[in-house]
């Protein structure tokens, strides 16, 4: 009996479980110590969670672009972070002009809609051009080739937009209508955060509806499963791929505007960090899996916002906020140890194997 057990468990697994277990134990000890110290009020915890959910929603929207392209083309579109940047960076000029003239504060709804439409359109165009120029000619090349091309395209787009709009950061105007708070008792949410969370949720629900309930969605799923067979069934694979980039690009553009509204800064390198985070979120949730990207994004956002205060404060680590990225990536490692295919990745892994 004992012998059989020792045959089934190898040394690597034991080490992995020890690492994972000790990290989990540290997290638990830290969280309990922080919570019992009473340093932060309930309202402050609530604030931290809201920041996390809002940021997570944005990560999720970007992550959808990574995951959809991966699902269909089996490649990581590293230029997606520049798709994310291009829309809001272009829409900045519209927002800034209206912000200066006061038109923005008089008609916030119309203006916001126009900014969203412009940003989504630009991001969408960039994404489609990217597919047409950089990826389609390489569709049957070895897998590393499009990956390298994507990195090259990413640099090209960054410096293209730098040349177009200049190297400095540009401030997004503040919209007065989004400044107030919704209060209930001690707790409060700023309108801009409500907008971000609601918009992200609506778009994700819409995407899920398209993919699961429409003919186009069915075609997308078919192409993701097997391109050749889908083509034999009469599906136009090329146009489905373009559609994937259209949806991914539009979502990234919208995410970019939400990001710009929350943090009020745009620049030609603004896509880099959120892009990496969103890619992490996509892997965390299970790359190629749409609900996985949503879960991964939200999870990452909340952990980043809450983690330093919750886990590390109690352990007495000085200046823990700078470790938020370390927490996020440790989490990624942990998930990959225990669930190599990501949080929701199992179903897909079976199909694609």
């Amino acid at each position: 009996m004992l012998r059989r057990l020792s045959e089934r468990i190898n040394a690597t697994d034991v080490v992995m479980f020890l690492i994972g277990g000790s990290i989990l134990a540290l997290v638990l000890v830290g969280s309990v110590a922080t919570l019992t110290s009473g340093k932060y009020s309930a309202a402050q915890w609530f604030d931290l969670i809201v920041f996390g959910v809002a940021l997570g929603g944005i990560y999720a929207l970007i992550a959808l672009g990574y995951t959809m392209v991966y699902g269909i083309l089996r490649m990581i579109n590293f230029a997606h972070s520049e798709v994310f940047m291009s829309g809001p960076f272009t829409a900045y000029f519209l927002a800034d002009a209206w912000g200066r003239s006061g038109f923005l504060d008089e008609n916030p709804v119309v203006c916001l809609l126009a900014i969203f439409v412009l940003a989504m359109a630009i991001s969408l165009i960039v994404a489609v051009l990217l597919e047409r120029i950089a990826y389609r000619p390489l569709r049957f090349a070895p897998r590393l080739v499009p990956l390298i091309t994507a990195i090259g395209a990413s640099f090209f787009l960054q410096y293209f937009f730098r040349g177009l709009y200049g190297p400095n950061i540009k401030p997004y105007p503040e919209i007065a209508a989004l400044k107030p708070y919704l209060r209930f008792g001690d707790f409060r949410i700023q309108y801009v955060q409500i907008l971000v969370i609601v918009a992200a949720a609506l778009m994700m629900a819409g995407l899920q509806l398209i993919v699961q309930r429409t003919r186009v969605g069915k075609a997308m799923r078919a192409v993701a499963e097997d391109k050749q067979t889908a083509a034999l069934m009469g599906i136009d694979v090329d146009s489905i791929i373009v559609l994937t980039f259209v949806i991914g690009g539009a979502l990234a553009g919208a995410a970019g505007v939400l990001y710009a509204l929350m943090f009020r800064q745009v620049s030609f390198i603004m896509g880099f960090i959120p892009g990496i985070k969103a890619f992490t979120a996509a892997v965390l949730g299970g790359i190629g899996n749409i609900p996985g990207a949503m879960v991964g994004g939200l999870f990452l956002g909340v952990i980043e916002s809450l983690g330093p205060s919750l886990f590390l404060d109690g352990l007495g680590i000085p200046a823990p906020q700078q470790l938020k990225d370390a927490i996020a990536f440790t989490l990624l490692v942990l998930v990959l140890i225990f669930r190599p295919s990501g949080i929701l990745g199992e179903k897909l892994a079976e199909k694609k194997a």
Binding site: Q44, F51, L55, I169, P171, R188, D313
Partner: protein, 417 residues
Amino acid sequence: MKAKVLLFVVFVVAMAFVATACAPSAPAFTCTDKVGCVNIAPNDPIHVAYSMVLSGADATLGQDTKYGAEIAIDDKGGKVLGHAVKFDGQDDLCSAEGGQTAATKIAADKTVLAVIGTNCSSGAVPAAPIYTSAGIVIISPSNTAVVLTDPAKRQPFYFRTAHSDKFQGATAAKFVFAQLKLKNAAAIHDGSPYAQGLAQVFKETYEKLGGKMTAFEAISPDDKDMKPVLTRIAATKPEFLYYPIFIGAGASIAAQIRDVPGMEKVPMMGADGIFSPDFLKAGGKNTISMFHSSPDLSVMTGGYADFKAKYEKKYNTKVLAPFHAHAYDGMNIVIAAIEKVAVKDPDGTLHIGRQALRDAVAATKDFKGLTGNLTCDANGDCADPHIAIYQITQDNFSKLEMPSKPIWSEGGPDYKP
């Protein structure tokens, strides 16, 4: 017959000897420099490079110093010892990696005599040893981290015309404690040698004076979401927030701080890294009434008004950041040292010993620059430091201009709100 030929040969050889001996040439230049010499042919330019941040959030910092150095060359009529001055370089992105890459590229070019840069201390830390081993003098117009001129770690070819943060951090702490009379402060840095060093000096001075640091937090320079860290700080109830970081993250803090409960009214102070109109643009209205420590431009000597007029005319902009005058002085120190050590052949060829050039820069004494009387000490600090405290007014904000008159400087009259 044979003898005749022999005689002829001897004659020719003898004539050749006489000819060489009588030629009006000086003995050919032989390089005795420890590190090596740079030879500049008659029509070749004198090559000085820059390593500055020219893109991203802190681009104005680099542009400002580049303009300052260019005006120094213009003031020489574009020529030194009859040679044009070539001033080109690399965008070092204000990062350690960027500083290292730029240094490697620049050091590979054997014509480069000296470098003006880097802007950010994080870039200078890895770059200084590279320039030192290549024998290239580097003068930074805006590095202020204490560590760079620490006697134990100093690189012999590294110099700076900017002040060390030993002065800046202490001035800021004295202002908050003695002038604003606030006894509980919090600080945020971004882990860079500049920000961390400055925040550390602030903390030490402030605590020595009797103040209490309620929080000493760090973020990463690319962070945009400042609400979590500000919420953490709010829990410690500070009366003052000091964040000597860069424009990207600094503007995010300014933009978000008033939305965090407990931080609605807390006064803020930044340092010279964000003393730029770009910070006002990116940070928005919350930057009004914020304090800054920065070089005291009001004590700049005679030529400054002139210099400023040239700057504004040539580049069609108000001054972008606080270090243009330091760059101007740095470039002039380099030019003066080149003029001092260069050996000129009659045909105009220049020979410049690298070690000799370095020693000439190190020997700079009582140099009348825009920023004061500059004397390089044994550690490479050449600055004549004058730090003052500024406050952004409503008027500054609407014109997107940094204040030109300080509200307080050490030894000056008390601050009146």
